[in-house]
């Protein structure tokens, strides 16, 4: 994130706790199965009696269940904190917010780093291939456990947006609205290429050892490089120029090829930070799941969307070159052809792909009003007499 100072409206959710939901016998799309699945999640607000105010927020590649508030003993607010709380876009006075860590992740949910009960050792590469649809099916189990039959909204950016599209196309009767942000119905070759370079960086690290690194040294360098590549694609030419320019770091560097430009230092810092909280094997599994995702299920997307009653709000960002606006427009086109009620907004932003985490004011306005419309089931706001 570009670390901009965000002026908060309303109140945040304060101290929050990550919880864990466990279920057994989980069949996977690609044929494998997991005996015991744990999903880490957080909730904010209260589920109402009708159980019609639940919103599911879906995180991106490196995100987790901690989307808002502060966890005890830590000072990092959740990854979308400014949008969630009393009087904010996801108003916790009205709505019940659920966010879970994806299947295959490493932030409390079952993934390759989890100990396999059968062997007593981490799964590593014995972990079965997972898909975006599997992530969604695991979320559905969690949502069902709350007794929620129909979600008010599913919302997410980037990979979270792919999960939104999976919900929309596979469980259209289980949601009243969908908000895919800065996302694509399927990855382009360019996106797959960036994913592959990240994976190669991890697998080229001698510490990776075909995924069996859990009892020794960690493929830290490889994962850090993968994250550095990621960060380049999340920013834009303009946002990098604004943030770093060609500034030199002020410390005198002792050797050649040190990080003497600000941007180099930033990328190294981001890479080093990432290895503290992310599992390299999870990175491999999740990026593969993203590359393989195709919301159109082998058909034309408009055929898959046909007859869907859920309302859609698509949000894209002008400077996003990782998930360019044309990809959102392709989804929009399919909505037009299938008659799905879709609103499309293109936000002016120089932040690149990161904009979906940073353009808080615009997203608050758009998402806040859209959710109200869906929740109160009105066609247009306000009253007037003729």
């Amino acid at each position: 994130m570009a670390g901009t100072k965000i002026v908060l409206e309303g109140d945040g959710v304060g101290l929050v706790e990550t919880r864990y939901f466990t279920f057994s016998d989980f069949e996977l799309e690609e044929g494998g199965r997991i005996d015991l699945v744990t999903i880490a999640y957080e909730t904010y607000g209260t589920l109402n009696e009708k159980k019609n105010n639940a919103i599911l927020i879906l995180h991106a590649l490196s995100g987790d269940a901690h989307v808002a508030g502060i966890n005890s003993g830590q000072n990092n607010p959740g990854w979308w904190d400014p949008l969630i709380g009393s009087g904010r876009a996801f108003d916790t006075n009205k709505y019940f917010i659920i966010c879970s860590n994806v299947l295959g992740g490493c932030r409390g949910s079952t993934g390759p780093a989890t100990v396999n009960a059968k062997t007593g050792r981490p799964y590593a590469l014995d972990f079965p291939v997972i898909t975006i649809n599997d992530m969604v099916d695991a979320q559905k189990r969690l949502v069902d456990s709350f007794g929620v039959d129909k979600l008010l909204a599913v919302v997410g950016g980037s990979m979270g947006g792919m999960q939104v599209l999976s919900w929309l196309t596979r469980y259209p009767d289980k949601i009243r609205s969908a908000i895919p942000i800065a996302t694509a119905a399927r990855h382009s070759p360019q996106q797959i290429a960036f994913g592959e370079v990240g994976r190669q960086a991890i697998m080229a690290d001698p510490q990776w050892k075909y995924g069996n690194y859990y009892d020794g040294f960690y493929p830290a360098k490889g994962l850090a490089v993968a994250r550095m590549i990621g960060h380049i694609t999340y920013m834009s030419d303009v946002s990098m120029a604004d943030k770093f320019g060609r500034q030199r770091k002020d410390k005198a560097q002792p050797h050649k090829f040190s990080a003497d430009f600000e941007v180099e230092g930033y990328l190294r810092y981001r890479g080093e930070n990432f290895i503290k909280r992310f599992d390299a094997n999870s990175y491999l599994y999740i990026t593969k799941a993203m590359d393989h995702f195709d919301a159109s299920q082998g058909k034309a997307l408009q055929d898959v969307l046909c007859g869907i009653k859920a309302r859609v709000m698509l949000i894209a960002f002008k400077s996003d070159w990782l998930y360019p606006v044309y990809q959102s427009k392709e989804i929009l086109k399919a909505c037009k052809l299938s008659g799905v009620d879709a609103t499309y907004c293109e936000i002016e932003s120089t932040y690149g792909h990161d904009a979906f985490l940073l353009e808080v004011k615009e997203e608050t306005h758009l998402i806040g009003h859209f959710l109200k419309k869906v929740f109160y089931e009105y066609e247009v706001t306000g009253h007037y007499e003729i």
């Binding site: 427009k329 929009l332 037009k336 499309y344 907004c345 002016e348 306005h365 066609e379």
Partner: protein, 197 residues
């Protein structure tokens, strides 16, 4: 809002549009017309608008809107997707008028077109006696800041429809005071037409 507060041209369109129909408003601005159509005629409405601030206002009204150019993506709809496509006060600002009108007549069963009349007598006076490009109520912009790319009169539009075999189903011409019934190309500031293929 009261009926008196609804713009005169919007009232004309409100009269024409059948209740419960589907509407696509191209260049919907802040969504005033769509809002009234949904409130009064229970239409299923959708707007297209390029201006970001206007889009935000539409969303705040609860409208379904698409952010973009009128010209882009119109042809993506299936034939007869809408009962009405509305081009109110936006036709004169479109680059490829012929193409957009064609597409509008394809995706809509009927098309509403509203535009400022360049041949209004006040404009004629300003050109003839003042020797200046007219600045009037319906054409309020100086030459250097106008968003209008095309200047047409009511007669021009009628001729265009005849040439392109577009059927004029209804027309109402307005001045500030109301409907103009005689010498409309001279006395009307705005022309509103309901056309079909």
């Amino acid at each position: 809002m009261k009926y008196d507060e609804i713009r005169l041209d919007h009232r004309v369109i409100l009269e024409w549009v059948e209740p419960g129909s589907t509407v696509l408003d191209l260049g919907c601005g802040t969504g005033e017309l769509l809002y009234v159509l949904i409130k009064e005629k229970r239409v299923r409405g959708q707007g297209v608008e390029i201006d970001t601030q206007s889009i935000y206002k539409c969303v705040a009204k609860g409208l379904t809107v698409l952010h973009g150019d009128i010209d882009s993506g119109l042809a993506e709809y299936k034939k007869n997707s809408f009962d009405y496509v509305i081009l109110n006060q936006s036709l004169q600002q479109i680059k490829h008028v012929g193409q957009v009108l064609n597409d509008a007549l394809h995706v809509g069963k009927k098309v509403v077109v509203g535009f400022p009349n360049f041949a209004h007598y006040k404009s004629r006076f300003q050109v003839f006696f003042g020797g200046k490009v007219p600045v009037t109520g319906a054409l309020p912009f100086q030459w250097y800041e106008t968003p209008n790319l095309h200047f047409l009169s009511i007669s021009d539009f009628v001729n265009y429809c005849r040439l392109r075999k577009i059927k004029i189903e209804k027309e109402i011409c307005l001045s500030k005071r109301g409907v103009v019934r005689a010498y409309r190309n001279l006395f009307a500031q705005t022309g509103i037409f309901l056309v079909s293929k």
